[in-house]
C-alpha cells in the first residue's frame, strides 16, 4: 500500500507534494536535478493566450523569511506551451496541473479549452489571484461574483477538473471560496502571494521595478494555514494548500489545517531538492505521528 497516495478530482497523486506554479518553470531545470516522476504532480508556470515578456527587472527582492516577486507572468504563450513544454513533460509519469491566466474572461476560456486537451494535463489551476499584472488577475480574485462567473465559463469548456487559485488579499476568503464552489470548481488551491513592497533605504525607491510584488515563503505560512483552515470549513471541495512550505513538518501542518495536498513554491529556490526530500521524509514522519496513511491527517484540526 502506498501510504502517501491521495486521490483528488482528476488527480491520482502518488504523494501530496508538488511544486507550485511559477517556482518550477515547466520542469526542465529541476528535471536536470532529479527524476520528476517522483513528484505527486507539477503545477506549471502560468500560461496566457499570447506570449508575455513580463515585468522589468529587478523582479525579486528578499524579505525576512520571505521574498517578493513581480515576474509578471512571463511565459511563452499557449502555443509555445502546447508545442514545446507539455510534450517534453510527457516522458515523466506525473500529472500536470496547468496554471491558466488572463486579463479577461475570453482569454481564460480560450487557454483553458486548449490546454485542458493536452494529454498530460490532468487539471487546471485558474489563476485569479496574480497580484503582478495590471488588469485582470487579482480583480477576478477579490470579487466573489466575478470569480464565480469566470469559474463557470472555464468549467464549461475544460476537459479536466478545474481548481481555482485564491488570493489572500481579501477581507473574507471564505466568500470567494464559496463563490467558486458555486461556480462549479472541483477544488481550490491557495494561497497565492500577499501584496507587499520593499523600498531601497538609500534611494527610497521600490526595490522591485514593478513597485509592489507578491510575498511568499515561510513568512506567510501562518496566514496561509489560517486561510486553509477557514476555507476547508466553508466548502466541500478539496484544497491544495501552499504558502511557505519549507520542510516536512509544514506539510503536516497544512494537511492538519484541511488541505488534501500541498504545493511548494519559494522553498525550491532555497533548496532545489526540497520536494523529493519531503517525499522521502514523509513515511518516517507518519510513523512518528503513529499514523498509517497520510489521508488521516487531512483536516485533523477540525476534529479536535
Amino acid at each position: 500500500m502506498n501510504r502517501l497516495s491521495v486521490d483528488l478530482p482528476g488527480l491520482q497523486l502518488k504523494n501530496p507534494i508538488m511544486p507550485a506554479s511559477g517556482c518550477f518553470g515547466f520542469g526542465k531545470e529541476y528535471g536536470n536535478l532529479y527524476d520528476l516522476s517522483l513528484l505527486g504532480a507539477i503545477m506549471i508556470k502560468a500560461t496566457t493566450l499570447e506570449m508575455r515578456l513580463g515585468n522589468p527587472t529587478p523582479r525579486v527582492a528578499e524579505t525576512a523569511s520571505g521574498m517578493l516577486n513581480a515576474i509578471g507572468l512571463q511565459n511563452p504563450g499557449l502555443q509555445g506551451v502546447l508545442d514545446r513544454e507539455l510534450p517534453w513533460l510527457e516522458q515523466f509519469d506525473v500529472p500536470i496541473i496547468a496554471n491558466v491566466a488572463g486579463t479577461e474572461t475570453a482569454d481564460y476560456v480560450e487557454v483553458a479549452k486548449m490546454i485542458s486537451a493536452a494529454p498530460n494535463v490532468k487539471a487546471l489551476e485558474l489563476n485569479i489571484s496574480c497580484p503582478n499584472v495590471k488588469c485582470g488577475g487579482i480583480t477576478f480574485g477579490t470579487d466573489p461574483e466575478i470569480a464565480k462567473e469566470l469559474t463557470k465559463a472555464v468549467k464549461a469548456v475544460s476537459e479536466v477538473p478545474v481548481y481555482v487559485k485564491l488570493s489572500p488579499n481579501v477581507t473574507d476568503i471564505t466568500a470567494i471560496a464559496r463563490a467558486v464552489e458555486a461556480g462549479g470548481a472541483d477544488g481550490i488551491t491557495m494561497i497565492n502571494t500577499l501584496v507587499g513592497m520593499r523600498l531601497d533605504q538609500r534611494t527610497g525607491r521600490p526595490i522591485i521595478a514593478n513597485g509592489t510584488g507578491g510575498l511568499s515563503g515561510p513568512a506567510v505560512k501562518p496566514v496561509a494555514i489560517r486561510m486553509v483552515y477557514e476555507v476547508s470549513k466553508a466548502v466541500n471541495i478539496p484544497i491544495i494548500g501552499m504558502g511557505g512550505i519549507a520542510e516536512t513538518a509544514d506539510v503536516i501542518e497544512f494537511l492538519s489545517a484541511g488541505a488534501s495536498a500541498v504545493a511548494v513554491g519559494t522553498a525550491n529556490f532555497v533548496n532545489p531538492f526540497i520536494c523529493p526530500t519531503i517525499i522521502k521524509e514523509l513515511p518516517a514522519k507518519l510513523d512518528e505521528l503513529g499514523i498509517n496513511h497520510i489521508s488521516e491527517l487531512i483536516g485533523r484540526s477540525h476534529r479536535l
Binding site: N32, L53, R59, V60, A64, I71
Partner: protein, 258 residues
C-alpha cells in the same frame, strides 16, 4: 552537472576593506567547467536570510578539490557569510551558468580582461587559464579606492596589470576606460565583468571587437526556472530575453541590451 554540496570552509580571510576571500572544499569543484561560472550560496541554515547569494568562482584547484570565492560583505547575507569560520559547512549550489570561453583566444594572442569591484574575482581564474595556454593577458581592474583593492599581486604574476581607482588613492585615477583609452585596441579578445555602467562603457569603446561580458541580476532559483534574472536582448537576436543565471552570466558582446 549542478549539485548541492555542503562544502567545508578551509580558509577565510579579509583581502581588503569588507572584502573576503573564502576557500571551500567539496565535490562540487569537480563539476566546474569554465571560469566565470558562479555558485549560489545559502549563507545560513535558517530562513532569514532566505535566498541564496550568487557569487562567482574566483579560482579552482581541481586536484585539491578546492575553490576560492571573493566577496564583499555588505548586506545581510554576505555579512553572515563573512562570519563563517574554518571548519564550518556552507550549503553551495553549483556550478551555475556558462562562463567565459577560453577557446575564443588562441595561443600567442592578447586578451584584455576588464573588471570592476566585485566583478574582478572571476577574471582571476580566467586569466590563469588563458595564460596557462599561452595567451598574453592584460588586466584593467577598477575599484572605488585603495582600501578595497584586492588581488593586485596575484594578477601581476599573470600579466600586465593596471589598477584604477575612482578617487585616485591607488593606481590611475578614474575609470577603467581611462586606462583602456591608452591601451589601444591591438588585442584579439576582451573579457569583462563588473557593474552595468562599466560593461556599457567597455562595450561601447570596444565596439566591433570580439568580447564577452558577464552580467548581474537579482536571482531567485539560480538555475533558470523562475524568470527572475532576465535581461532583454538587443534587436536582431533570436530570443526576446535571456536568463542571466542559466543562459549567462557571460554573453558575447552585443547580445544583451545594456
Amino acid at each position: 552537472m549542478i549539485i548541492q554540496d555542503r562544502m567545508k570552509v578551509i580558509k577565510q580571510r579579509q583581502v581588503a576593506k569588507n572584502n573576503f576571500e573564502m576557500k571551500l572544499s567539496g565535490k562540487l569543484v569537480g563539476e566546474i567547467t569554465s571560469p566565470g561560472q558562479f555558485v549560489h550560496i545559502r549563507v545560513a541554515d535558517s530562513f532569514e536570510p532566505l535566498l541564496r547569494r550568487p557569487i562567482s568562482i574566483a579560482s579552482i584547484d581541481k586536484e585539491a578539490g578546492e575553490m576560492t570565492i571573493i566577496y564583499r560583505a555588505e548586506g545581510r547575507g554576505t555579512t553572515i557569510l563573512s562570519e563563517r569560520r574554518v571548519g564550518d559547512e556552507v550549503d553551495v549550489l553549483g556550478p551555475l551558468g556558462n562562463g567565459f570561453p577560453v577557446d575564443e583566444t588562441a595561443e600567442g594572442e592578447t586578451a584584455i580582461l576588464i573588471g570592476g569591484g566585485i566583478g574582478v574575482p572571476p577574471l582571476y581564474e580566467l586569466s590563469k587559464q588563458l595564460t596557462a595556454k599561452g595567451v598574453k593577458c592584460v588586466h584593467v581592474l577598477g575599484f572605488q579606492s585603495a582600501d578595497v583593492v584586492f588581488y593586485e599581486d596575484e594578477f601581476k604574476v599573470l600579466g600586465e596589470t593596471h589598477i584604477v581607482t575612482v578617487d585616485g588613492t591607488h593606481g590611475t585615477k578614474g575609470f577603467v576606460t581611462t586606462v583602456m583609452e591608452k591601451l589601444g585596441d591591438d588585442f584579439a579578445t576582451y573579457y569583462s565583468c563588473g557593474p552595468m555602467p562599466m560593461l556599457n562603457a567597455v562595450e561601447t569603446m570596444y565596439a566591433g571587437k570580439k568580447g564577452f561580458l558577464s552580467f548581474e541580476q537579482r536571482m531567485g532559483c539560480g538555475i533558470g526556472a523562475c524568470f527572475a534574472c532576465v535581461c532583454q536582448t538587443t534587436e536582431g537576436t533570436e530570443k526576446a530575453y535571456v536568463k542571466v543565471c542559466s543562459d549567462g552570466p557571460v554573453f558575447p558582446a552585443g547580445v544583451v541590451a545594456i
